[in-house]
């Protein structure tokens, strides 16, 4: 019988990574370092228990692909549009200038010509997975510096794909050959890009509206979509992650993308862990690592500082604020693990020896570790250095547009209960955000155009962030599930007013204890009312008729209202708002 856990390399990696990760957490270190360390411990450098083949490699590739899929999911077109031009300029300038710097450093350290060329080419790339992961965890990926960095990284990734494809091409006779291969690659990327955009406009909205209500099918269809692009990219000899990114972009425009993000993130986190471990696994051995150790450290320091200033100059030049330029630059100071890929390729082609690869590895390791801390504490560092940097302020710097809700009211679940109260909330708080996980409810809200809406399950972090739960002044929950309301009460601001619903009295008490301002208990309310009516029927028939007449008039009025609004039946059918699952 095949053993799936006992002898499985990736299983060992996960377990060790957890242990090291917990240790890292307790000592305040970022978990990425722990994962890379796991790879180093388990790989040729130390114990050599696992290899990066088979399932491990598969999971690492999938992890990277899913990470870029997630990244694509976060990119809305209007976000990209406004920074497209500056980002291209920065990316271009950065590539040229950083290659030049790396060239100089390598030459100064005494490497020979071919080695210098390889090193220069290899070290220009920023470490996409590290930057994306840390910024996402810190929730800065959609801030202005984050977007600039992501933009540059994507351009770099495409550049890398082109470089690798060129390297890999069998016969690169002359300039004409190179030009043709380049042309082919760019055309293929454009095709996939166009396919992605076209489907985003015409195919996907209808497709996903049908499945968005069904959690499991929604996830599988989205994964299938990503895999489709991945397969196309692989088939066209492009890298899987470019395909995944384009797949993500096509889905980013749908209102369902937040919900999808939340479902894909755990899968990504699981696989990307293996990916980070493989970074450590790729290092051939202690000797190769230490062959050029002091040169690596010197080069690293020079490159980190140099890269920072290059980026800072380029971003600042585009008119962004000092803070944006600072943060955008300081996130990109590391040498990427791509340097290892390029290096390995060069090794295969016989252009360099394994000790040069070791040099590249050490540089990557060193800069990645340092930058992980730097990115994690980027705001603190900026705060300290701000006074000095203010000299670079200039007029007309673009500011960070924050399109978040603030001091608003949130309603979780769009049903008869919440709908009644929304106008009052709007009058008081100005802006109302409705969270609901049914596509027809969201459609109705959007058609009415009066309130903002977020499609998704309140249980998911991304959805709560999108609605800015922490900044809300009033929250109304029509979910009767205790865990949902408990999560709500723990995350919301202390001075916010919170109304929740409960089915059972113990739950109501517990929620009051946790700070709820009022707990709606619809069943008891109805029971009370019904009992009163029945009693009236038995004792005072006239009063009974009067009481129910009022209620019936209201039900009919409500139906008339919704018919006038939508020319049909209201979409609300009362199976509760968010508590449906």
């Amino acid at each position: 019988m095949s053993e799936i856990a006992l002898a499985a390399d990736f299983a060992i990696i996960v377990v060790v990574a957890t242990a090291v990760g917990l240790l890292a957490r307790q000592t305040g270190q970022p978990t990425i370092i722990a994962y890379i360390l796991t790879g180093i411990i388990l790989g040729p450098v130390a114990f050599d228990i696992v290899t990066d083949e088979g399932l491990v490699d598969l999971m690492a590739e999938l992890g990277f692909a899913f990470l870029l899929f997630l990244l694509g999911l976060k990119m809305r077109f209007k976000d990209i549009q406004e920074i497209l031009r500056p980002v291209t300029n920065v990316a271009f300038g950065q590539t040229v200038l950083q290659t030049a710097l790396a060239f100089l450093v390598a030459w100064a350290l005494g490497f020979d010509t071919t080695e210098i060329l390889v090193i220069a080419l290899a070290t220009v790339f920023g470490a996409t997975p590290i930057i994306v992961k840390i910024l996402t965890d810190k929730d800065e990926i959609t801030s202005m510096p984050g977007k600039i960095d992501v933009g540059v990284l994507i351009v770099q990734d495409i550049y890398l794909v082109v470089v690798l494809a060129l390297f890999a091409a069998d016969d690169l006779g002359g300039a004409a050959d190179i030009a043709t291969t380049l042309g082919v690659i760019l055309v293929m990327i454009s095709f996939i890009g166009i396919f992605s955009l076209a489907s985003s406009r015409y195919v996907l909205p209808k497709l996903f509206r049908r499945v968005a209500d069904n959690k499991e099918v929604f996830l599988i269809v989205a994964i299938a979509w990503a895999f489709l692009f991945v397969a196309i990219a692989e088939g066209a000899d492009l890298s899987a992650k470019v395909g995944a990114f384009l797949a993500g972009i096509s889905l980013a425009q749908l209102p369902y993308s937040k919900e999808l993000e939340d479902r894909i993130t755990p899968i990504t986190n699981f696989f990307i862990l293996v990916f980070f471990a493989t970074i450590g696994l790729q290092i051939d051995g202690l000797n190769a690592l230490l062959a050029y150790w002091w040169q690596a450290i010197v080069a690293s320091i020079i490159l980190m500082v140099g890269n920072f200033w290059i980026m800072f100059y380029l971003i600042d030049r585009e008119g962004f604020s000092v803070e944006t330029s600072f943060l955008g630059s300081i996130n990109m100071i590391q040498v990427s693990e791509f340097s290892l890929i390029v290096g390995a390729l060069a090794l295969d082609q016989g252009l360099i020896e394994s000790d040069v690869l070791g040099y590249l590895s050490l540089m990557a390791l060193f800069t990645m570790s340092v930058s992980t801390y730097v990115i994690a504490y980027n705001h603190t560092i900026y705060a300290k250095l701000e006074p000095w940097f203010r000299r670079f302020e200039s007029e007309g710097d673009k500011s960070d547009a924050l399109s978040q809700y603030r001091n608003h009211a949130i309603a979780i679940g769009y049903d008869e209960i919440t709908e009644r109260a929304l106008p009052n909330l709007e009058a008081r708080y100005g802006e109302v955000v409705v969270i609901d996980r049914r596509t027809d409810h969201i459609d109705e809200i959007e058609r009415e155009g009066r309130y903002s809406s977020v499609f998704g399950d309140f249980r998911h972090t991304e959805v709560r962030k999108e609605a800015n739960l922490k900044g809300a002044d009033f929250v109304l929950s029509s979910s009767v599930e205790r865990e949902v309301n408990e999560a709500l009460l723990s995350e919301v601001a202390d001075d916010a007013t919170v109304f929740v619903e409960a089915d059972r009295i113990d739950d109501a008490r517990a929620l009051y204890d946790l700070g709820a301002d009022y707990v709606i208990m619809s069943t008891h309310l109805t029971a009370e009312k019904l009992a009163t009516y029945v009693e009236l029927h038995a004792t005072d028939r006239a009063a009974f008729e009067g009481a129910i007449a009022g209620d019936i008039a209201e039900i009919l009025a409500r139906q008339r209202r919704s018919r006038d609004r939508f020319g049909g039946h209201a979409a609300i059918d009362g199976h509760g708002g968010d508590g449906d699952d």
């Binding site: 377990v15 890999a168 269809v221 009362g574």
Partner: protein, 578 residues
């Protein structure tokens, strides 16, 4: 590694990625079909596998390994969802009926399976008979449970019943898995397997109480670490299971027991494990379909017999067993009509047996085909359930039903101008109290046998029967009643009451204003729409706070006092479902 990506040659990883891509795209396309028709996606994943299975490259060894991880995660999630405090109350509903079915259908299926083994010359006829029998007897919680989701949510009796049976069956399946991984079918081997199983369970429980909280504490609020930690626990249990030669299912189940679902990060961890389980689970179902080749006549015959037994014999036995236990015929039938599909646990048993080499290929394929057919048909069959019930079952059990109702009711023969209350939950109890306070006579109609003792003790007049059939209403004297109050918001019930064409005033209940309008048009005197009532109250409170200047704390205090009063009077939920 990624070097191979670069050299342009299709490295192994690339091939695997393409294989997975084919797998997922097929699964995605077919799940769209499933979603279109409102069916469960699981049989469609298997179907997807059947379709792409012809391509060899889709099932290399690595994908099979991933499929087994799918099994591990599915059982892992099952173990996590298990709530020991609920076990007793859930099993109580089902133990008799489930046991009856096990003990009657089981041996019959075993005999048929053995006959097939003999007929087609299987190597180990006894084991194969066991697999055949398991496939017939056990029903699916994944597919069946999904189909029932609404009923379970609405606390309908038959939903509860069916999910209890599912749960019972799943536990039996795990026990079976323990047994089949025994080296030989001897008493010694089996006992040692069972012993290990118990040991694993004990370790899982130990971890639940002491180990998991340590993990959460060390993770210090980092949801990702708790998630990864939970998966590491799964891996550890799996490795241990493999080391001692147990099925990974037992390891995964024990690991699931070890995970706590409360505390901080609980929602995140649950979402995380669900997503990962969905991912690997889909791979499992597609792969298992891909392992089936074009069916030979033997396979077709066995699959047909299997499906037939599951579709016809099972529901029959279940229905009779439920009726015997005291449920009305309609509830019994509805519950059993959700129980007629091959369980995904049977699929797991089959594939584990395949890997151990103890199942005949033909039987393996037959089980999978039968699973696809029965899983896909169940939701479709439910559309016709009412008609089947009218035509078949009610005729079969007709006379008996009125007798049953008579036995379990107590109604004053000369009741007149009384109130009929449908449903004895929170609302029903309140109504009874109010009517007794103003000295009006009433009859309570209720169909859940669990409440029989309560009815006997607290109600002057009651009928224990199914509100969808006529006799209980006749028994309750509906032509002489002045008012009928329904506390059940099921449309079919409301329509049944309207169809009675009684002179009495009708106070119905509905879940939506749309439905309420229809009912009012059809003749209801009044319709309670719970959310509308609550909505009105909410607006009053909101206005009180915003415009009236009442501080929320005052309202809160007042409300708490009201709740206390409700509890004192005994009107809060007594059972978790009422």
């Amino acid at each position: 590694m990624r070097r191979s990506t670069v050299t342009g040659v299709m490295g192994m990883t690339e091939q695997l990625i393409i294989a997975l891509a084919v797998l997922f795209v097929a699964a995605g396309l077919l799940s769209l079909v499933a979603n279109q028709f409102g069916l469960s996606p699981i049989p469609f994943y298997i179907l997807a596998g059947l379709l792409v299975g012809r391509f060899e490259f889709v099932t290399p060894g690595e994908v099979l390994t991933l499929a087994q991880w799918g099994i591990a995660f599915l059982v892992f999630v099952f173990g996590i969802r298990l709530d020991f405090s609920n076990v007793q109350s859930v099993l109580r509903d089902a133990e008799v009926a489930a046991s009856i079915q096990l003990l009657t259908v089981g041996p019959v299926a075993f005999a048929i399976g053995y006959a097939f083994g003999d007929l087609f010359g299987f190597e180990e006829p006894l084991r194969n008979a066991l697999y055949f029998s398991a496939a017939v007897v056990l029903s699916s919680s994944l597919v069946g449970g999904q189909v029932l989701r609404r009923e379970i949510q609405d606390n309908l009796v038959h939903g509860r019943l069916a999910s209890s049976i599912h749960f019972f069956d799943d536990l039996v399946a795990i026990a079976v898995l323990l047994v089949i991984t025994a080296d030989a079918f001897t008493a010694d081997a089996i006992t040692s397997q069972l012993g290990y199983g118990v040991l694993f369970l004990a370790v899982g429980l130990l971890f639940y109480r002491h180990g998991f909280p340590i993990l959460v504490r060390l993770a210090d609020g980092d949801g990702e670490l708790v998630l990864v930690g939970s998966i590491s626990i799964l891996i550890a249990f799996l490795a241990a299971a493999e080391y001692v030669g147990l099925s990974i299912v037992v390891g995964a189940f024990a690991a699931g027991i070890a995970i706590r679902e409360d505390g901080t990060n609980a929602l995140d961890v649950r979402n995380g494990i669900d997503s990962i389980a969905d991912f690997f689970g889909a791979i499992f179902f597609v792969t298992i379909g891909a392992l089936v080749s074009v069916p030979s006549p033997e396979v077709a015959i066995m699959a047909a017999v299997l499906a037939g037994l599951v579709f016809i014999l099972n529901p029959l036995v279940h229905t009779l067993a439920f009726v015997y236990e005291g449920y009305d015929a309609r509830t019994a039938f509805l519950a059993s009509s959700s129980l007629n599909q091959v369980s995904e646990f049977s699929l797991i048993i089959a594939i584990q047996a395949l890997l151990l080499g103890t199942i005949a290929d033909a039987l393996f394929e037959a089980i999978i085909l039968a699973a696809v057919v029965t899983m896909a048909l169940t939701p479709a069959a439910r559309r016709w359930k009412d008609r089947v019930f009218q035509v078949v079952i009610s005729r079969l059990l007709g006379g008996q039903r009125s007798r049953k109702v008579d036995e379990r009711s107590e109604v004053d023969a000369d009741l007149d101008d009384h109130v009929i209350i449908l449903g004895y939950g929170r609302q029903g109890r309140r109504l009874v109290e109010r009517l007794e306070a103003v000295d009006r006579s009433y009859v309570v109609i209720e169909n859940d046998p669990i409440l029989w003792d309560d009815l006997r003790a607290n109600c002057r007049n009651y009928v224990l029967g199914d509100a969808m059939s006529e006799y209980p209403w006749k028994k309750a004297g509906v032509d002489r009643a002045s008012l009928v109050v329904s506390t059940v918001d099921q449309r079919e019930i409301s329509e049944t009451i309207l169809a009675l064409e009684a002179d009495a005033d009708l106070l119905l209940r509905s879940a939506s204003t749309d439905e309420a309008e229809v009912l009012l048009d059809a003749g209801a005197t009044y319709v309670t729409v719970t959310n509308v009532v609550a909505g009105k109250e909410l607006v009053e409170i909101v206005e009180a706070i915003f415009d009236g200047g009442t501080p929320p704390s005052a309202l809160k205090a007042e409300h708490l006092k009201t709740l206390e009063a409700i509890e004192r009077d005994g009107f809060d939920t007594r059972y978790s479902r009422y």
